[in-house]
Amino acid sequence: MALLDIKNLTLEIDTGQTRVKALDKVNLTVSSGEIRALVGESGSGKSLIVSAISGALPPQWRMTADRLSWRGESLLSMSTEQRRQVMRRDIAVVFQNPVSALDPSATLGQQLEESIPDELVRGNWFWQRGQNRRKIAIGAVHKVGIKHHRHYLSAYPHQVPTDICQKFMIAMALVSQPKLLIADDPTRGMETTTKTQVLKLFTRLNQTKSLSILFVSHDLLAIASMSHTMTVLYAGQTVESGKMKHIRKRPLHPYTKALLDSAPSFRNNLPPKSTLPTLEGTIPPLQHMPIGCRLGPRCPRAQRDCVVTPVQRRIHDHTYNCHFPLHMEKL
């Protein structure tokens, strides 16, 4: 069953004279118990999707969507209180920049403890509950691999290194025992051992607690090893989405192929000392998006038809937005 279901999510913003579409009809689902990777270049709108789901968009954005639902209930039409309850118990978010997402004037311990929902705290009297809260917090801190809890729980965010802040954000997200974890680039800048530790934790929680995860990252290697499904985003459009192993074996969209090719570890037949094939050019700025397929100017397969935005097509559970997909002959 789809936990999170997003259909044709469009985000627009007025930049001076023109209105630009930062997200153009994005589709995304996260099913129960799956780890879905959301990948795309920097500026392709991944964090915007995360903000839209968590209701954290600044008011100047105009959002439209055919569907944005949580377990069949529309997040857009539910009351503020209902939505708050969903965010409190079911969905947890780790935002991209952990340091600015922490209150500078409160200790890490206070912020972690306030994220524990009241229902999970045992005890009748406030001191018992206080102690229990503390215990839960310490447990959560250990779980994300922080050893000196005594030191860090009473520290302020500016006093600790960034990776500890990142881990605290993860602990704060996990401590409410959510059904879905949305993690926006949670391992950015971490060193390899720490990163592995976090990824292992995610995989374990997925297997033991059937936690669903929407994992946003640049790190294709990490994504490939842990996620079941993948959605690829280019310049605010979803270009391809499907099972990880299908996409790896036979990407249908030229952009996905370029993305996979640019990561050496995905190629088994790579001749030594060959240059990596990548697409010419860079992602266009929002104000100058090409009409039709946004990949058009950079796409090696582009033809005249591509000035019309390709609609989403589907082969089993593999969807793609392209007029001239690859590998069709093999299907």
């Binding site: 954290a56 708050r84 965010m87 997402a101 209150d103 500078p104 004037s105 306030e114």
Partner: protein, 343 residues
């Protein structure tokens, strides 16, 4: 911690030294006799003059004179008023508390009314109620204080006759001066009708206090509102919301403190304005405070009084400013980081 305290103390002492030097040089800069400017005493004959000059070390180099002057200041020997002949320390000891009293009540009103209203407006930012509060506070903030005081006198004292025109308390009450704060003195006084005296004092106090408080309250509202709006836009508030915290939790745990921290230094600046305003309003209401006293000194060319009065007022302002800043430093955890950059 000790470091911070030492640094503030050094700053404080150095500033006071500079002010004392300025005050000392005034004795030379003011027209007239240096000896008279410095002591407030007019020697009758040459022998007396010589004795005084020797006592004040005027025959020695400036540095020694200044050193002696500092000693005199510290021991409380501030010289005598030119006009009344009374010791200046006593006169200032009576006038200063009256000003502080006025400023304190005005500040209390500003804090008690201004800060909560500011929070409310900030939390309701850009709604009609916020726009109303904002316009009213901008309007009141723009009043010149003396004009407001005159308006009050015109309306409440002269037209409606519900408040006395001048003074601190009716002369019918004989209140001994114990603390210098009239309300406290009344409570401490014996054998007077305390209820009547208090109500009379409050009547006297209402107009000048309000005249100062309105402007400071408006400033508080505007500062608090701005700060709350700033905090509301921070990513950690968004993050707290996405964790499903209630409005009240977000307000009490994340907004109150973060919004207050940037206002505290601004409050320190307000104190200076507040004392200036109090001194202006005093002269209009004949409130026996330091502002009124200084104006009288200027009219009467009482140079010794001006010399010490200026030192006393600036010492007060600097003490308060440094105290607020120190307090602010102590409660703001993230300031440690910038310790090297400031002061």
């Amino acid at each position: 911690m000790i470091n911070v305290l030492t640094r503030y103390l050094t700053l404080f002492v150095l500033t006071l030294l500079v002010l004392a030097a300025l005050s000392f040089s005034l004795a030379y800069l003011f027209p007239g006799d240096v000896l008279t400017n410095l002591t407030g005493l007019t020697p009758q004959n040459d022998m007396q003059r010589e004795a005084l000059a020797r006592q004040y070390k005027l025959d020695q180099p400036y540095v020694v004179q200044f050193y002696h002057y500092l000693g005199q200041l510290l021991s409380g020997n501030w010289g005598h008023s030119f006009i009344s002949g009374l010791p200046l320390r006593e006169e200032i000891g009576i006038a200063m508390p009256a000003t502080i009293e006025l400023a304190t009540y005005a500040m209390l009103i500003a804090l008690i009314v201004g800060v909560p209203v500011g929070y409310y407006a900030g939390m309701r930012s850009y709604t009609p109620i916020d726009h109303t509060i904002n316009s009213v506070s901008l309007f009141s903030y723009s009043f010149p204080v003396f004009w407001l005081a005159l308006l009050f006198i015109l309306v409440f004292s002269l037209e409606l006759g519900i408040a006395p025109l001048s003074g601190r308390v009716s002369l019918l009450f004989d209140i001994p001066d114990a603390t210098g704060f009239i309300l406290l003195d009344i409570l401490l006084a014996e054998d007077i009708d305390k209820g009547l005296a208090l109500s009379d004092a409050l009547h006297h106090m209402a107009l000048p206090t309000l005249a100062i408080a309105i402007i400071t309250t408006a400033a508080m509202i505007r500062m608090t509102r701005r700060s709350v709006i700033d905090v509301l836009g921070r990513p950690y508030i968004t993050a707290a919301r996405s964790r499903g915290l209630s409005r009240w939790q977000i307000f009490s745990r994340h907004i109150v403190r973060n919004a207050l921290l940037p206002i505290l230094p601004l409050m320190a600046i307000q104190i200076t304005t507040l004392i200036t305003n109090a001194m202006i309003v005093e002269t209009l209401f004949s409130w026996p405070g330091i502002g009124n006293w200084l104006i009288q000194a200027i009219y009467q060319r009482d140079y010794p009084a001006l010399r010490v009065g200026m030192l006393a007022v600036s010492t007060l302002v600097i003490t308060l400013t440094i105290l607020v800043d120190l307090f602010n430093r102590l409660i703001d955890p993230s300031r440690e980081k910038y310790e090297r950059a400031t002061v």
